[in-house]
């Protein structure tokens, strides 16, 4: 042992003893250091979401220091020439100043926006992984409900965040949210007034309320839920795929210290790196181009952040059905696409573990994951449901297809009003038969593709070469 190592060893020993005398946590620390993580790339999706959340909190604290939730109208005299003399809210001006005058302000604002998009994308992919591998079964069903709740909160959080800016796009998003609130039968208007403090665009208390929701209430809720999510995983240990030496009652993988910790810190840094590079180099939400919000203005061809796209699609797809009896409008139209559709999607997600238990009668604890093909029915139901939501999401971009490719907008809407019900059925049967044949052949769909090169000669003969 050389002198440096000996010195380090002594310091480490002294530090550990210092902590032990106060906490007596050596056993717990040892347990955490030896905690085993099974290796599979798809297990990193949840980690990416976690690390994007870390970046969101960091950049968010910076942004909070500069944002002013004021609705009073001011005249802009800042450094962005094209908006000189424009009338805007104090909130919008504070974000313009943050973007143009605060050093690194635009960088952190854009990193924050990119991080929000990546955060929710990672959660959705993580949810797909959990669904298609059956990771939501007992004992992880409780954690699955928490995860679905976090997805819902994350979408609300993202929407609240870009609504705070009070640019034209965020105002348009808010008025649609207000309309959806109003569309809830019986109590909609009361609910809308409760949130906005009056009729749209709301009283001067609205932006401060929204800010508290965005910077305190939802992040605090997410932090509590994330803590529970992780603690629950550690108690149960990660699920793993079947493999050599891997059984229901053990977990095979890399211990936290040192290799896994370094790799995971590497992932945190890589996520942060991608987000910072994107925030520095790829423009996102250029609010100075949208301009300030006024209720009588709107942007043509506007698109929300991706995770709101499914709601825009649903609102657009809905036929103009609005039943009224006498003086009462029973179900205002935005209710279908803006409230009923997402509520149904989340209700389906919440009820699936229970539904599957009912259908299969399987109440056992499962710590080995399924390969998607091994459960053709579940995989087919998941793929069909996913395709249903993805189609509605894609309908949110039909206007872009019209602008870019000149495909008639009305024709697209009429087509998808039928297609949104037919296509998922096709997806169900295709997925199920693909799963069944994969299970029969035992081949990996990407790694083990087999085939032969077929070449037609000039005389019509067909020659085969094995690949």
């Amino acid at each position: 042992m050389n002198i440096v190592t000996r010195h380090l060893h002594r310091r480490l020993e002294r530090g550990t003893r210092w902590l032990e005398q106060r906490l007596g946590a050596a056993k717990a620390v040892e347990w955490v250091l030896r905690y085993v993580f099974p290796d599979h790339w798809s297990f990193l999706l949840g980690e990416i979401a976690l690390y994007a959340f870390v970046v969101l909190v960091g950049t968010g604290i910076f942004l909070t220091l500069y944002y002013i939730p004021g609705d009073s109208q001011v005249i802009y005299h800042g450094s962005y020439a094209l908006l000189q003399g424009a009338q805007m809210s104090e909130a919008f001006r504070s974000v313009l100043d943050l973007s143009f005058s605060v050093p690194a302000g635009l960088l952190f604002r854009q990193v924050h926006h990119w991080a929000a998009d990546v955060f929710i994308a990672a959660i959705v992919l993580h949810l797909c992984r959990v669904f298609f591998t059956g990771a939501y079964r007992k004992p992880r069903d409780l954690n699955y409900y928490i995860g679905v709740t976090m997805l819902m909160l994350a979408i609300l959080e993202g929407f609240a965040g870009y609504s705070l800016v009070d640019d034209l796009l965020s105002g348009m998003g808010l008025v649609i949210a207000y309309s959806v609130a109003l569309s809830i039968p019986f109590v909609g208007a009361q609910l809308g007034y409760l949130v906005w403090g009056g009729p749209f665009p709301g009283s001067s208390t609205f932006l401060p309320r929204l800010e508290i929701v965005h910077v305190l209430l939802i992040p605090a809720a997410l932090t509590v839920l994330i803590t529970f999510h992780l603690m629950s995983i550690m108690r149960q240990h990660h699920a793993q795929f079947a493999g050599p030496g891997r059984r229901e009652r053990n977990v095979v993988g890399t211990p936290l210290w040192p290799a896994y910790a370094l790799r995971s810190i590497g992932l945190l840094l890589a996520v942060a790196a991608v987000l910072v590079l994107a925030g520095g180099l790829i423009q996102i939400n250029p609010i100075w181009q949208w301009g300030p919000f006024h209720p009588y203005l709107s942007e043509n061809g506007a698109q929300p952040d991706w995770y709101i796209g499914w709601l825009i699609g649903a609102l657009r797809l809905m036929p103009n059905f609005e039943p009224a009896i006498g003086a009462h409008t029973i179900i205002p139209n935005p209710f279908w696409g803006g409230a009923a559709f997402p509520l149904f999607v989340f209700a389906a997600l919440y009820s699936w573990p229970w539904l599957e238990r009912r259908l299969t009668g399987d109440h056992l604890r499962h710590d080995l994951l399924d390969r998607p093909r091994d459960r053709p029915n579940r995989t087919a139901v998941g793929a069909a449901f996913l395709s249903w939501v993805v189609i509605v999401f894609a309908v949110g971009s039909t206007d872009r297809l019209f602008y870019r490719l000149h495909i008639s907008y009305t024709a697209q809407i009429h087509f998808w009003r039928i297609g949104v019900w037919v296509l998922p059925i096709l997806v169900f049967f295709l997925t199920r038969s693909a799963c069944r044949s994969l299970r029969r052949s035992g081949a990996h769909p990407l790694r083990d593709w087999q085939g032969e090169v077929v070449k037609r000669e000039g005389d019509g003969r067909v020659e085969r070469f094995s690949a």
């Binding site: 905690y35 085993v36 109208q73 050093p103 960088l107 854009q110 004992p139 348009m172 309309s179 569309s183 019986f186 909609g188 208007a189 609910l191 007034y193 409760l194 009056g198 009729p199 749209f200 665009p201 108690r235 050599p244 030496g245 009652r249 053990n250 977990v251 095979v252 993988g253 890399t254 040192p258 290799a259 910790a261 370094l262 790799r263 590497g266 945190l268 890589a270 790196a273 910072v276 590079l277 925030g279 520095g280 006024h294 209720p295 009588y296 203005l297 709107s298 942007e299 506007a302 609102l315 657009r316 103009n320 003086a327 009462h328 409008t329 205002p332 139209n333 935005p334 803006g338 809407i413």
Partner: protein, 341 residues
């Protein structure tokens, strides 16, 4: 294309070969060979530990960390010197993070000991322990004779406490004050965004104008209106509304009755033989309304026609409102005042 050019198939094969080579290289570098075929379940123990002692990798990690330190200093320098150069700031900070990430991942894979461990999961539910919890909880209510009474009283107190805690929510304002109001009344002059009145003679056919009430309140929901002039044969208003469109000039709420966005698209026929009638379209969900038919919905999700504002022309030739909106503007709700159409 000359004869020596590789065919697409060959090119594809080359790319594939290159990718495979990169993968093999990466796997070799990482020291990770494909796993051996599984042994029978009972004998196979996947535990292993290797200590790499890889001096080359250590050098690479140290170099990456030093470059990261350099880039971090670069970020500080750019912050001080250039302040708001977002691209350079992002490159420096992002570059630093890339280096750190690479260092951490390479260290995790090549520098530190590589281990595969087996950990037993153990049971989550241990019957005796669960039973003990139940007993402990039950022991705490031992000797209480009137449980039902206490539970009922506790429930009542709890419900009252929740109600008391929730009541202040009411002061947030669920009374629907002003939900039917707009700033438009008889005689309010229509002005543009700069506050200039609209002389009737300057309203052109084939375009639309955004008008606000002169009286103020331009930031309120119902302020914005669409102002258009149609040709006489394009107007098919019901009889009671004929007087609302002097000289063929008409005004409609700019707020879409579907989801409240400001309507900002106007389709006007440029070739009469094939074109459709003039129509307003909302850019959010593409509800389409015919001004000539009193705001009737012809496409999209809107469940109510676009509310029309009665107009008149004053002695100076300026356009004014001839009354309030006869129905509610904005999105529908339970008690929305629906128009006749």
């Amino acid at each position: 294309m000359s004869g020596e050019e590789p065919t697409p198939v060959k090119r594809f094969a080359r790319v594939l070969a290159l990718l495979l080579a990169v993968r093999t290289l990466a796997r070799t570098l990482a020291g990770r060979e494909p796993p051996p075929p599984p042994a029978p379940e009972s004998e196979y123990d996947p535990s292993q530990r290797t200590v790499p002692a890889n001096r080359q990798a250590e050098t690479v990690v140290a170099a990456l960390l030093l470059v990261a330190a350099l880039l971090g200093c670069g970020f500080v320098a750019i912050y001080v010197a250039l302040q708001t150069n977002t691209q350079l700031l992002g490159l420096a900070l992002g570059g630093m993070l890339v280096m750190l990430a690479a260092a951490a991942i390479i260290a995790g894979k090549l520098v530190v000991p590589q281990e595969t461990q087996v950990e037993e999961r153990g049971e989550l539910l241990v019957e005796d322990e669960a039973e003990e919890v139940v007993e402990t909880i039950e022991a705490g209510v031992e000797g209480i004779s009137r449980r039902k009474l206490l539970a009922g009283a506790g429930g009542a107190a709890g419900a009252a406490a929740i109600a008391a805690a929730a009541t202040p929510l009411a002061s947030l304002g669920p009374r629907l004050r002003g939900i039917h109001d707009t700033p438009w009344h008889h005689g309010v002059r229509l002005v543009d965004e700069q506050g200039n009145p609209y002389p009737a003679g300057e309203i052109q056919v084939g375009t639309f104008y955004t008008a606000l009430p002169e009286a103020g309140g331009s930031e309120t929901f119902g302020a914005g209106v669409l102002l258009v002039r149609l040709l006489p044969d394009q107007i098919h208003l019901p009889a009671p509304r004929r007087a609302w469109a002097p000289e063929g000039i008409m005004a409609f709420s700019k707020i879409c009755p579907h989801a409240g966005c400001a309507i900002s698209l106007y389709r006007y026929p440029t070739y009469e033989q094939t074109s459709l009638s003039p129509a307003f379209t909302c850019p959010c969900h593409y509800s389409t309304f015919l001004p000539g038919d009193g705001g009737r919905v012809v496409f999209g999700p809107a469940g109510r026609p676009l509310p029309q504002l009665p107009l008149m022309i004053d002695d100076l030739g300026h356009v004014r409102a001839a009354g309030a909106f006869p129905e509610d503007i904005g999105p529908s709700w339970w008690d929305v005042h629906r128009g006749q159409s």
